[in-house]
Symmetry: C2
Subunit: 167 residues, 2 copies
DNA sequence: GTCTACTGCTTCGAATTCGAAGTGCGCCGT
DNA sequence: ACGGCGCACTTCGAATTCGAAGCAGTAGAC
């Protein structure tokens, strides 16, 4: 079919706007809590959380950047900050001399633990309070396919993430 | 006061993470499209869209800031840029000498119209493609109460905030 | 009337962000 | 093995962001 006239029906538009607004508000609230509790920005928290979640406590820079949806240069900056604060360590990867492995320190884990309850409190009370258990399940069920779709559709001009081998 | 054990069940956690990731990815994609097509940042686009949507084509600064979830000082900056670009006009309100009324110009409307189709295209193909019509309805139905809840729960105020510094 | 508290916006300084360019390593074909 | 291409990360400069402080204008108490 030819491209339909480019427009979103009112329901789509509402969903889109609400999505943006909800996440913006949530992010602001969370950011404030993190700043107060642990003097962390949201990105820094995300990085620590990701590292703390890993079985090894470490990740490559690039994977971190992708995971958090962040620019590489920005990650370098934030990793530097976190390292200076003693929350992570950086070391060259053993197997690939190009890449850097970032590892969370005990101090990092401690701070994460200190900040986490408040974080969860905010998310819980802002995002989940008005939703029933089934609502949350439904939301998760809706977001998952969108997430997968987005992951598999890389930004238009960026290089497709091919490990090796050709198409 | 023994706060309830602060934790999110796995479903909630997944929904929360996906929400953040989806909007981050969407935002990046949209931002890129807007930059390419009309040399606009996302905030600038949001401001123009909001003004263009208004019956009068204008809004007070504060309402704009609240609408897009943005700091006041940031809005002053962006409004200045938009004005310099001839996309909006600023004039003191007749009834309240303190407040400034921002109005979209014809050039602003033109740029908005130029940029909108691509914007919709991106949102459509990234966010809505993997969702059926009913899915979207369900999503909208879930987000609306959350949005209302957040709006009615103003950011916890007046905590002595520490200086920005260090990690 | 006028004093005081509050609101709306701007200015200011510092921190964060990104993209482009730069450096060095690893992979592949010849 | 050599050479070119591509990847991982960093550096650099410019633009954007925020909060705190500052400057009017407004509203309510008395």
């Amino acid at each position: 079919m030819p491209d339909s006239p480019p427009s979103l029906d009112p329901v789509q538009l509402g969903a889109y706007f609400d999505l943006i607004e909800v996440t913006s508000l949530l992010r602001h609230a969370v950011e404030q809590q993190l700043r107060e509790t642990g003097d962390l920005s949201y990105v820094q928290f995300q990085l620590l959380a990701r590292l703390g979640d890993s079985p090894t406590g470490s990740h490559r820079m690039t994977d971190l950047a992708d995971g958090v949806v962040y620019s590489r240069s920005g990650l370098t900056y934030q990793a530097g900050l976190l390292e200076k604060a003693g929350l992570v360590m950086r070391a060259p990867s053993p197997d690939d001399e190009r890449s850097i492995t970032v590892t969370i320190t005990d101090a990092g884990r401690a701070l994460l633990a200190k900040v986490l309850p408040g974080h969860i409190e905010v998310v819980s009370s802002m995002l989940f309070e008005p939703l029933s258990r089934d609502d949350v399940k439904a939301l998760a069920g809706l977001l998952a396919p969108v997430r997968d779709h987005m992951r598999s559709t890389p930004p238009r001009s960026a290089a497709p993430r091919r490990r090796r081998g050709r198409a």
